[in-house]
Symmetry: C2
Subunit: 577 residues, 2 copies
């Protein structure tokens, strides 16, 4: 397979074979290694020396469930460290069908025009896209699918990415052509915008055939894997409720953010949870779907299509994170409004987590009345319009807090926490603090881990082990595959050996790969001058009511996180200037 190197300064596109050292790597792992190897860690994230990396999985194109994910990354405009955000949709499949493991976008066009990178079986080209400036992702995607065929993949940014806002993401279409799949966090949309890239279009005419080591063994491994996923109650939970099913259990732990992360209880949680989602979909019918696959061949099908009262789709999917941060976090208890705000975020190319958290801080600043869903929606519109207030909110929660002088700001490394208050689930503080990604739940959501979430003991080990596991899965699959796999060591061993001809005997290789990924991410951050940061002072010292817990993991626990006994040696990392 190939790496495609696009230089926006020169307008050149060069194809290279995937180097041997990256052979087994895709997605997050490939982003980590390429970023570490190639990006100047001290560069300006929106300058010409940052790179936008779009990576697919080496497991894609083989009919394996959950392997269609793509990762988008580079140096984060939001955190100043490495960033990888990943998403479902059809892009992974389309890239793999053209034999593309990753696209590396470098430089910056002199004229600052927007462009499309267009890929089909005849080749690749950059096309001026000033006609799409100011368009939302849905319209952009629709226009490009009209132009290039409805089964093409479109990876696009909205008005937020064009404005280089730190809360901007990258959006990918699903099988229905809906650009609601989001690689949203850390301002990756601004990296793409700074490259002058409005969209990457990959037509559905790829003819690349993957070679695997042992086709028969792969078929067997794949069947076993799919069977395990389908049989697993964890996967079934996703299929049934999607992530919106998290609302009640996280609330029960006192970890569901409410009122801008200042309340551990939300009185109207009964109005905005997964059951309400399912009931509304069932009752309203029409375009609604309680379960839905975002990627070709996914057997988990955690997605949904949420309709309005007339049965017309509002947004797909409606997920727990947006559901919480645009909902209870703002004291908004109306699922339809939350769905519409999620649509707005997707359309404008915004990270709905960051925007929800930023609106919560804005509410603390008195700009948004708690529970005012109309005003919240207007403020999201202002981001797309580029008003000064819109730009502040579109830069994320940390900026809103600094600019309005608010001290209760739920961020780590400048990035908003997702919908898990680390005072409710103590080990989430470890995830937020120690992952090189900022306060990013996708590094390890620990609330289902079988430990006492109300005390700090075990928090470090629980989050650390899960972070390594997730880093492995993120390198090949949607991490939701993990629940389906459970602890069956054969599933991954057989799959990998059949595809790559490796000779793994047990699943130790999984944590070896996961550790290497995180180590490369951390080394990038060290060279960039980004260190660990703990959850904010107020969460460590002011009890969250009604349960009265704080985030109280001792320094001595954090201090052992990077123990050499666990990770092995870290090479010394020079700053690169």
């Amino acid at each position: 397979m190939n790496l495609v190197r696009v230089n926006m300064t020169k307008g050149t596109i060069v194809t290279e074979l995937v180097p041997e050292k990256y052979k087994l790597l895709g997605n997050r792992g490939l982003v980590a290694h390429i970023a570490y190897d190639e990006i100047m860690p001290t560069c300006n994230p929106i300058g010409p020396r940052n790179k936008l990396i779009v990576a697919s999985s080496p497991m894609e194109g083989l009919g394996v469930s959950c392997a269609g994910r793509i990762s988008v990354g580079g140096k984060s405009p939001l955190t100043g460290g490495i960033k990888e955000a990943n998403s479902g949709g059809v892009a992974g499949a389309r890239l793999a069908s053209h034999g593309i493991r990753a696209i590396i976008v470098e430089g910056r066009p002199e004229d600052r025009h927007l462009h499309i990178l267009h890929i089909n079986k005849n080749g690749m080209e950059l096309i001026d896209a000033e006609d799409l400036r100011g368009k939302g992702t849905y319209e952009t995607t629709h226009t490009l699918l009209e132009r290039y065929g409805k089964y093409a993949a479109v990876i696009s940014i909205g008005q937020a990415g064009e404005q280089l806002l730190c809360a901007s993401g990258v959006f990918i279409n699903d099988m229905e052509g809906d650009s609601g799949r989001t690689a949203a966090r850390g301002g990756v949309g601004a990296i793409m915008g700074a490259k002058g890239l409005k969209a990457i279009v990959v037509e559905n005419d790829g003819q690349f055939k993957r070679q695997v080591k042992d086709e028969a063994a792969l078929q067997e491994a794949r069947m076993a894997l799919h069977k395990a996923i389908l049989a697993n109650p964890g996967s079934q939970f996703y299929t049934k409720l999607g992530t919106m099913g998290f609302m009640m259990p996280v609330h029960a732990l006192g970890a569901m953010p409410a009122k801008g992360f200042t309340d551990g209880n939300y009185k109207n949680v009964e109005l905005v949870n997964g059951d309400v989602l399912l009931a509304n979909i069932a009752e309203r019918g029409g375009e609604g779907k309680p379960t839905h696959a975002c990627m070709p061949g996914c057997v988990v099908r955690c997605s949904n299509i949420y309709p309005d009262k007339q049965g017309k789709k509002i947004v797909s999917p409606l997920e727990y994170e947006s559901g919480n941060l645009l909902g209870p976090n703002l004291c908004i208890d109306d699922l339809d409004s939350i769905a519409r705000m999620t649509y707005q975020c997707n359309n404008y190319g915004l990270d709905s987590i960051e925007v929800g958290a930023a609106l919560g801080v804005a509410a603390h600043a008195g700009i948004l009345p708690w529970g005012d869903k109309e005003r919240a929606a207007e403020l999201i519109d202002e981001i797309a319009q580029g008003t000064h207030l819109g730009k502040i909110i579109g830069s994320g929660a940390a900026f809103v807090g600094k600019i309005f002088g608010i001290d209760k700001v739920p961020v780590v490394k400048g990035q908003a926490m997702a919908a898990y208050d680390p005072r409710g689930v103590k080990s989430m503080a470890v995830t937020y603090a120690m992952t090189p990604m900022g306060a990013d739940h996708t590094a390890a959501v620990t609330f289902r881990s079988p430990i006492d979430h109300f005390h700090w003991e075990g928090a470090i080990d629980t989050s650390r082990t899960l972070q390594v596991s997730v880093a492995f899965y993120d390198t090949y699959f949607c991490s939701f595959i993990a629940r389906g796999i459970g602890t069956d060591i054969h599933l991954m061993v057989n799959l990998f050996n059949s595809v790559f001809g490796t000779d793994f005997k047990d699943n130790a290789f999984m944590s070896d790969i996961g550790k290497e990924v995180i180590k490369h991410e951390r080394m990038f951050n060290i060279a960039a001058g980004v260190t660990e940061e703990w959850v904010p002072e107020w969460m460590r010292h002011e009890p969250l009511m009604p349960h009265g817990r704080v985030s109280d993991i001792p320094e001595s626990e954090y201090a052992r996180y990077w123990d050499i006994d666990f990770w092995g040696e870290f090479p010394s990392v020079p700053a690169r200037l």
Copy 2:
């Protein structure tokens, strides 16, 4: 002498003797040690666990020139690391006359009211100051001097500090009651604002008598010192031209920022330099003064009073940094406008360096036409008014750059560079990068050092040695004393031995103290997670025209900055949570 500990949560004021370990420390050095010993490095700078430290000199009250300086510091809202900003004015003298070495302000009032800390010979009290909310520093100072006597010291914040803006500073009155003396950088005004402290008033009725070891020896040392200062051409330069005299020599080096740090040449520099300042003062007469002492007993007298065409004072002083950043940096060539903008900044309690740099970035963003002095002045007004755009600009250059997606932003650690482009004077990159203070010129202005400023060789050693020297002087004096002292080792040795009864034989103690100060500052930053940061990518890689130089100090040079051979051991620093 005493430390005064004010707890704004409880409303208590407690006096403690200066501990033995701080006996020789004042100003910046005392801020460094107290911050390291007492402030939780991971606290929120505007939260209740940060502390505002106001420190005077142990040399004050003895008739020694340049010892009236005060330092204001804590954890910086702008950089996230330690911050000390210092200023002249009468506060040092008044504090010393009450036997106060430092005031440490802790906590935060529950009702978030503004207060005055009032000090006179009868004691100390906190007084509600909601009547002063929204007032500028000049009016605040005027009101308080009316109330407490015209020779009182007033240390105040303006509208910027009240809004907790990151570009807010702390302002001190001079002997004429003008609050134009500024401890401005790093958002120290926001620390004071977050404490609910509008002003500290110290009446001129102090009765504390300093005890020194040897009064006769002190008298002799003091006379020798003053004689040396007065005889030195470097001091005489300050007396004659003040810092505005830097404009032409820095421009000649191609280091005077123009057009938002994108031009190494300013065609109208002849209209805005020190000679123009002197000519205008001479021609206009009235309240203007070409030279002026900001502190009682200062023999350097680098300050000035700049009048308008009618001879009425516009601002005092007009200095090079504001002169450049609000002038050529914005392509503004009218000294009267620059003086008026400086007055605005002082009045609103703003760091004129940070605001000037922020306006330069705003100009890159198209918000401010280059050279538009009316619009620039309006934008400064907007900061005080608290408009959204005003709050963005009042948060400093880094915020403006992030929010408007500008990649040419002259900041290090989030703080704007002062008026020395590190491509013109290469060693300034070392000062900006390596001082724990962010891009703060006061750590070491190197353009007069006798090295080749156009090449990087020697840059590390020059800046490092000067940083240590300045850290020593900043702990006792206005650093402008240094030029007058030159290399005469007896001047400081005799002074210190006569005051403290120390037994220093040579001036090695000066660098020992300077190094300890910087080490404590750095250790605070390490515990806070703030690492070194280099000058921005574009300055390292894009030549500044017309001379075509970049900031090209190699990594290997930076890597030896903290050599143990130079600094001695650094203790390991735990994060404190």
